[in-house]
Amino acid sequence: MTQISRRAALRGLGATITLPFLDAMYPAFAAQAVKKTLSATRMAFLYVPNGIVMEHWTPAGALGATPLENLPRISSALAPYRSDLLMLSGLTSNGGRALGDGPGDHGRAGAAYLTGVHPKKTYGKDIKTGVSMDQVAARQLEGKTRFASLELGCEEGIQGGNCDNGYSCAYSNSLSWRTENTPNPPEIRPRAVFERMFGAADDEKDPAKRKRLQSYQKSILDVVLDDAQTLKSALGGSDRRKLDEYMFAIRDIEKRIQGAEKSNETRVPVSAPSASIPTDFAEHSKLMMDLLALAFQTDMTRVITVLMGIEQSPRNYPEIGITEGHHGLTHHQGDKEKIEKVARINEYHIKQFTYLLDKLKATPDGDGTLLDHSMIVYGSALADGNAHQHNNLPTVLAGRANGSLHPGRHIRYADETPMANLYLSMLDRMGVPVDQLGDSNGRLEGLADL
């Protein structure tokens, strides 16, 4: 498939779908590299909140690996892709449990998911969890791609101190944590993600002028870094830490600019999404999936997290006829009607995942497809949302990771196997192995077994 714009593709297919989110005002403009030989491994996480109705998710089966078949209602959407993915059961995020800290399972779940760390119960200034696994990889991959990582989302973070029984909203607003105290909040505006990747629409058109402006950017960064150094030496205590955050961020930008200059690029026309955020969840997440695929395709980054909903998400889904809030419904206390509604929401969510799988399968990459060279994890840090269950988490690992995964199976792990073990195995495949992350106690066996 050649690189054609989404609009042209749809026209070609004879689709009569209107494209409300392509803004006619902005001309299609250049800028993206398609590297010919590309097969580095990518990884992405798609996170859905408030758990999943597990009775409609997990297929029957004993411990160990079994062929992936007889999928119950919600996971049956994955059946057409069974040869491309692994379903994992039995994994646990112990950091989400109370462990003596009282209520607050949602705040903990979100913060513990990619970190494997039990977060500190606070809604003040001293938030603390761990470094998330995507950032462990990002630090090592810095400089290799334009962005060390991208954080995307479909739900705005909540502004407010105490989101869940004494746990800060910061814990559920972000999936990714750069340091144990600094969250990496996701960008939820598709246009903003697009502009980060391709530049803003009012950028200079004249290429000579653009080059000059770019060189001035570097001088500006030098000036402000000098400012920061001078300032830091005159400050004490927590002020210095704030300056550290600042300087890290500036250096991050510097590296990105250097990376962009080094790549030789061929032009590919793409159209900018509309400036407004779609209110329809499917539309919104599809745009994010498109951008995710594009980012992988152009090797702008190899590490992406997508926070499709924040923990305790109160969002309703009128487009599928559900007017009550998601979180409220998941505390159904056994009410059959409510459970049914939750199951429908779960089905709606997983449709967005299969949309992404289709896209990745259809995008050539090096000697295969993007899906062949990726690891895409779909899951939640809660299993049964009603009981706030932190073990046996619903987890799907899609992709082949350049041949180092053997999909098509359901692997049931022993109870209480840490999620973080999966992360160690994934980091191995990203070429950035670590010995320990969060509460890991080893690698996850059986992912590559034939």
Binding site: P20, M25, A98, G102, P103, Y123, G124, K125, I127, Q159, G160, G161, N165, G166, S168, C169, R178, N181, N184, P185, E187, R189, A192, E195, A200, D202, R212, Y216, Q217, I220, L221, V223, V224, D227, A228, T230, L231, S233, A234, L235, G236, G237, S238, D239, R240, K242, L243, E245, Y246, A249, D252, I253, S276, T279, D280, P318, E319, T323, H331, Q333
Partner: protein
């Protein structure tokens, strides 16, 4: 001696003592003053004395009344009081535990019903000992401003609101790039807390992109289309729950209005083309609670071949339809000034092919409020009169296109002269260049720029000047300045470090000016304030108070309502929560916006008129427009404009019974006495209840209002002692507000049940209705004042409050009470306090000068 007991008492009871409890406790204090003297005169180690005291006076009481639940084994609510029996050292350490115990004993919530309450002697034993405990730890240290710890605020980055306001004041631009920044981290209830605000690489990129946009706008003006084009198509939602609207969506108005803010990129002419829809002439309907129903059946259509329609027929039909409905004025206004009117005549057939209305208006660059509406509808008794049986409104704005700019101005942007204060285009000398840069950096960094800083920027300017124009070079300097940490952070420097002795120092005048302006205006100091700082006049006697007075009178002080007020009252929830559209068909986006505006105007009035802060509880006035007045049942207000009205206090007064507060403290479909009770306790009295235990079953909602009333459903809260401990303080408050439904309207019945809005508080006091509740709240004016002081002080300082601030909070509260609770007295007390004017030096970080 009594004085130090009083001081000690303030310290031991952080902000949670209502007035009545205070006087009771003071009485107890006096009674056991002898015990205090006895304890310390014995010359014992204070901790040991406290432990002995505990064993003799308190332990028996606890053992009899508390250990059944709060033992090591049972551990109710996560608390064991048994641990203190054996470990005297723990007693002095666990100050927070005893503060909570004091609260609960004074309020009578522990032991919870149906267990027997403490006898007065038992209660006195506990509260007296706790008071002595506070004295034992800190006896002999009077609370004086000289030695109190002012705390240390960490460098604060500008939050979103502060960033937008600062670039507006610094450069005269009207772009608001911070609207695209991610939500600010929030702590202690506010989004301006230094330690909590983080700076991720993503945010840094946004700062960089914002710096590019702002610098270009400041020097060259915002970009705009070369030829006039369609800038935006504005479309209101068609129903309250509309998820399909695309393009630029504006709120839903049952009265068919279109209202929004439009940003004009440049001075010039803009054309507004809009269409309204006219579906009048539907069958006559009557409105009932169940919706609209037809009055008369429609006559059947005649069958058979129809006679040809002549031109006269057509003309006659047209005339008939134009006469069939009264003329309804349509008004299009920009920034409150009418720019176009039209009288919509008749039914659909009359107006159908009319086409667009067009108005071309000259506008300055910046934000403008657009409103196109049918003002006559503001006075509709029931807004459903504007609806047809099929659910479509009879008259409404369909869309508004904004085209332009026509004849755009080529003059430099508004803030140009703020930057280029010397020289002329193509004629900037080297000294002038340096002057421009130095002035820019000084104003942006809110203190004189250093030689090195200016040198660095001049290096950049000269580099750019080699290949581009001088203006472009200055634009780059603006960009650099906007990305500098000196701009993005409010920095306070420790003076010559390593200097001996001083671990507390006064911040300098520039830093004080910044604190003051960001407190009252959420923005940088203006020229007058900055000059006062530069001339070191800020700390002259009366100077600060004069500045406070001037600043509170300035329109920029409205940020106290929008930033402080809305966060204090948790009103930002209105961005996420709305009453269910099906259950509350009268409540559209426009009405919710009006409610929010009412609260903002009310908060502003308290600030501007320097009213008593107790008006928040029972102020007998508010601001309403026609639709909101009708929703509240307040007579005498018509039209779309807001007017101030006096209230008799029967149904509405203060903020607790304003629609904004009532709706955010409810669920979308029903009220929640628990949420409302918690809201009042938390935001007004500073007495938030602890979180609920795990696994509480949800409220049985099915027959609410038909088989059982809200009160009956919540009975379990009172029957079960595990629940009543906390719910006995929350639920009664909520019951007192049950006359207001989940959208904030008054109701006498909840479903089939008459509303019973009486309540009994844990200490036995009873009240009836919201009016009675407010009397009770007024009697707790001490607790209210203390809590409000804490909140405003947190916002003003940009850090959470510590134990060392307790004395200050107490002093400020009593000062405010002595000045008739006037708002300005609270502000001046804060501004004159050591915590605001001084800073603790950093401890042992080995800074080099």
């Amino acid at each position: 001696m009594l004085n130090s007991i009083l001081n000690v008492f303030f310290k031991a009871s952080l902000g949670t003592l209502p007035g009545r409890r205070l006087s009771a406790a003071l009485g107890l204090c006096a009674a056991i003053g002898a015990g205090l003297a006895g304890g310390t005169l014995r010359g014992q180690d204070p901790a040991r004395a406290a432990a002995d005291d505990f064993q003799q006076t308190v332990l028996p009481v606890l053992s009899k009344n508390c250990f059944s639940c709060h033992s090591d084994r049972v551990h109710s609510g996560g608390l064991s009081l048994e641990v203190f029996r054996d470990d005297p050292a723990l007693i002095a350490q666990k100050h927070e535990v005893w503060t909570k115990v004091l609260d609960k004993v004074n309020a009578g919530t522990m032991p919870p019903r149906p267990l027997a309450p403490l006898t007065p002697e038992e209660a006195a034993a506990i509260t007296g000992w706790i008071a002595r405990l506070g004295g034992g730890a800190e006896a002999g240290s009077p609370v004086s401003t000289g030695t109190a710890d002012p705390g240390r605020v960490t460098a604060r980055r500008l939050n979103r609101a502060e960033y937008n306001n600062t670039i507006r004041d610094l450069l005269g631009v009207t772009v608001r790039p911070a609207d695209e920044f991610p939500v600010d981290d929030s702590g202690y209830g506010f989004d301006n807390i230094g330690d909590v605000l983080s700076l991720s690489p993503m945010l840094m990129e946004k700062y960089m992109s914002a710096a590019r946009t702002v610098s270009r706008a400041a020097v060259f003006g915002e970009p705009y289309p070369e030829k006039p084009t369609l800038i935006v198509r504005l479309m209101p939602k068609k129903i309250q729950d509309d998820m399909q609207a695309t393009g630029s969506v504006t709120p839903f108005s049952a009265r068919g209005a279109l209202y929004t803010s439009f940003h004009a990129p440049v001075d010039g002419e803009y054309e507004f083309r809009f269409r309204y829809q006219n579906f009048r002439g539907g069958e006559p309907v009557i409105q009932t609670d169940k919706g609209a129903t037809l009055i008369a059946p429609v006559a059947p259509i005649a069958r058979g071949p129809r006679p040809p329609i002549t031109d006269e027929d057509r003309a006659a039909r047209y005339e008939r339809s134009c006469a069939a409905a009264p003329a309804e004025p349509l008004v299009f206004a920009i920034d409150g000034t009418t720019v176009y009117t039209y009288a919509v005549r008749g039914t659909t057939d009359c107006e159908y092919s009319r086409g667009e209305s067009i108005a071309r208006v000259k506008l300055m660059a910046g934000d403008h409020a657009l409103r196109s509406s049918f003002p006559g509808m503001a006075n509709m008794a029931d807004v459903r009169t504007n609806f047809n049986p099929d659910g479509r409104r009879k008259l409404y704005m369909e869309y508004m296109d904004v085209l332009g700019p026509f004849n755009p101005s080529t003059a430099p942007p508004a803030g140009f002269k703020k930057i280029f204060m010397c020289g002329e285009p193509d004629n900037y000398s080297a000294p002038c260049a340096r002057q421009i840069v130095e002035n820019l950096a000084t104003r942006a960094y809110r203190r004189p720029a250093t030689v090195k800083e200016v040198d660095r920027l001049m290096g950049l300017v000269n580099e750019v000047r080699r290949r581009d124009t001088f203006e472009e070079a200055i634009r780059m300097a603006v960009q650099a300045v906007l990305m500098s940490p000196n701009f993005l952070f409010r920095i306070e420097r420790d003076p010559n470090h390593g200097a001996t002795g001083a671990n507390v120092y006064a911040i300098n005048d520039y830093e004080l000016a910044s604190r003051l302006s960001y407190f009252l205006w959420s923005s940088m100091p203006d020229d007058e304030l900055f000059q006062a700082a530069a001339q070191k006049r800020l700390r002259e006697p009366g100077a600060l108070d004069a500045q406070v007075k001037r600043m509170l009178a300035d329109p920029k002080a409205e940020t106290l309502a929008t930033n402080f007020g809305e966060q204090w009252l948790n009103l930002r929830l209105m961005d996420r929560k709305k009453p269910d559209a099906a259950k509350f068909p009268l409540v559209d986006d426009e009405l919710l916006d009006a409610m929010r505006q009412e609260t903002r105007l009310f908060l502003n009035a308290v600030v501007r008129e320097d009213r008593s802060i107790l008006d928040f509880i029972d102020g007998r006035f508010t601001y309403v427009n026609g639709p909101l007045a009708r929703f509240y049942g307040i007579p005498g207000v018509d039209g779309e404009q807001f007017k101030r009205v006096d209230l008799d206090g029967e149904h509405r007064s203060g903020i607790v019974t304003q629609g904004s507060v009532l709706s955010i403290s409810s669920y979308a479909t029903r009220t929640s006495p628990v949420i409302r009770g918690k809201w009042v306790l938390e935001n007004l009295l500073g007495a938030a209840p602890p979180p609920p235990p795990d696994d509480i079953p949800a409220l049985e909602e099915k027959d609410l209002g038909t088989a059982a009333s809200m009160r009956q459903r919540l009975e379990q809260h009172r029957a079960d002692p595990a629940c009543s401990a906390c719910h006995s303080s929350m639920d009664p408050i909520g019951f007192g507000l049950e006359n207001y439904d989940a959208a904030g309207a008054w109701r006498a019945k909840d479903g089939n049940f008459d509303v019973d809005s009486s309540g009994i508080l844990p200490d036995g006091r009873s009240f009836s209705g919201a009016k009675g509740l407010k009397q009770i709240l007024l009697s707790q004016s001490h607790a209210f004042t203390q809590n409000f002081t804490e909140k405003l002080l947190t916002y003003a300082l940009g850090r959470g409050l510590e134990r060392s601030d307790r004395g200050l909070v107490g002093q400020i509260s009593s000062n405010v009470a002595q000045h008739d609770y006037r708002f300005s007295s609270l502000v001046t007390s804060i501004v004159n306090s050591p915590a605001f004017q001084m800073r603790s030096a950093s401890s042992g970080d080995g800074v080099t000068p």
